[in-house]
């Protein structure tokens, strides 16, 4: 019995790969969906957006690339959808070179689909990408028009109606930074939110979330961590505005495969340890190439 358990420690890694693939693919095919419960750290962001009066100015940033789209894009789209539904003015920008297509996708999935009548330049503006990492944020703190002299289409920001009230970063009512690394949420806190006094909310990948907890709740009013964080925001949005149930459940749906994969990984850890103890704590077989 013990030797049988010990043999489990030598399980072919191809079986592990196959099981993890099945754990993701089957729930996707079956459209397995679990309920999402919004935790306070995400609810804070929702409540802040909810409490802003109409025409408030929200800066939404998309500082990530295609590799983290499954985690970050639902956050960007849910927050954008919420802001536009509330009648807030949305300023979207990125300091990542890979960010512009993310904003384009958001425009396609949120604005063209749910808010086809809103006017770019009056209710929302795509300020595009600017190089300079945290230098852009620092520059925007002093003079926003210098940091973002044109929008994504090349129009001078001075000619955009909704930019008239924006001179410095402190003219915004809220900054929601969605990111997956450097420069990202941390830099928006340090160079944007802290000096200007504008509340900052964040949305990051699951691996980055623990690094941002030190800023919560003093400097960061809320944080969406990974796909779960995105699903929690979507859950709050759909609960408050059921009309978005069709369009804003991307992360909630993807939590099905993630939940099953998490359970499988937990099983792997437990089985791996049982095999380890059954083998009498022999030298661990790290990186066995089988």
């Amino acid at each position: 019995m013990a030797s049988g358990l010990a043999k489990l420690g030598n399980l072919d890694r191809r079986i592990i790969y196959l099981l993890i693939a099945l754990a993701v693919v089957i729930p996707l095919l079956l459209k397995l969906v679990f309920p999402s419960i919004t935790t306070p750290i995400v609810q804070n962001i929702f409540d802040e957006v909810e409490a802003l009066p109409p025409r408030s100015k929200v800066l939404l940033t998309a500082d990530y690339g295609p590799s983290t789209v499954p985690e970050n894009q639902p956050m960007l789209e849910a927050v954008a959808r919420h802001c536009l539904h509330k009648g807030l003015r949305l300023y979207v920008a990125t300091i990542w070179a890979t960010g512009p297509p993310m904003i384009e996708n958001m425009s396609e999935n949120v604005i063209q689909r749910d808010f086809p009548d809103i006017v770019q330049g009056t209710e929302w503006v795509n300020l595009g990408y600017k190089a300079g990492n945290q230098g852009v944020i620092n520059s925007a703190y002093s003079d926003f028009h210098n940091a973002f002299p044109t929008d994504a289409r090349g129009n001078a920001v001075g000619s955009i109606p909704m930019m008239a009230e924006i001179k410095r970063l402190e003219d915004f009512d809220l900054i929601v930074a969605i990111g997956s690394g450097f420069p990202g949420v941390k830099e928006w806190i340090q160079f944007g939110g802290d000096p200007s006094g504008v509340p900052v909310a964040g949305g990051v990948t699951a691996v980055e979330a623990p690094l941002l907890y030190p800023y919560y709740p003093g400097q960061l009013l809320g944080l969406m961590g990974g796909l779960q964080g995105a699903a929690e925001y979507e859950a709050a949005l759909v609960t408050a505005y059921p009309q978005f149930e069709e369009t804003s459940t991307q992360a909630i749906q993807n939590m099905g495969p993630q939940t099953v994969a998490h359970l499988l990984i937990i099983t792997f850890i437990l089985v791996g340890n049982i095999a380890y103890f059954a083998a009498g704590r022999e030298k661990p077989r790290l990186g066995v190439n089988r």
Partner: protein, 227 residues
Amino acid sequence: MFFRIWLPVIVTSIVGIVLVTALYVPHDPFGKLNGDFSEYFNIIAAFAFILGAGNLFKIHLDKIYRKTKGWLFSVVTVAGFLITLVAGLLKLGNTGGWEGDVVQPGSWFAIAYDSMFTPLQATMFSILAFFVASASYRAFRAKNTEATLLLAAALIILLGRTFVGYWMTAWMPDSLEFLTIPALSNWIMSVVNQAGQRAILIGIGLGVISTSLKVILGIERSYLGGE
């Protein structure tokens, strides 16, 4: 000597002192200088792309010329870079012409981004799931007290990040709510993790202050090269 060593040291010192002062005295002239210096930084950062491209060419063309191991990958890198650069700069296939957005759907640049860059990046990131699963099976062992604590924390966080965590301990009475998996997961993240992260951040901050002071005072000059 003056232009190579002392002029950069003087410029660095002035910029450093002004930026530090501007943090505490945001009024002019420090406020304005802070804004100006940030703009200079942005301009220099844009030039860094040219340097980066030059460096990429230098390294990979050298590999191709010498036909060192994996030189064919360098050919792919250089070709990919040039094709993307030309497609983006000349806005090839852009229905909006020169006026159109560089990422306009249908343009060659957008096709390269959507059909090559995006799936490649997504694939690289997705492969992590398989490695994590394999590593969790083979390496995550309760070998000693520290490893066991780490293992327990990982299991709680993994469960706490899904609905299963709620479901497993939903039966617990309100008086024991703090023992539910979501509550434990939240406690690990917002107390244990936060304390550790803050300690690390404060340590890093002190290190940054120390190094910055040395740079501003001209004691640390290794960034100038040589010496």
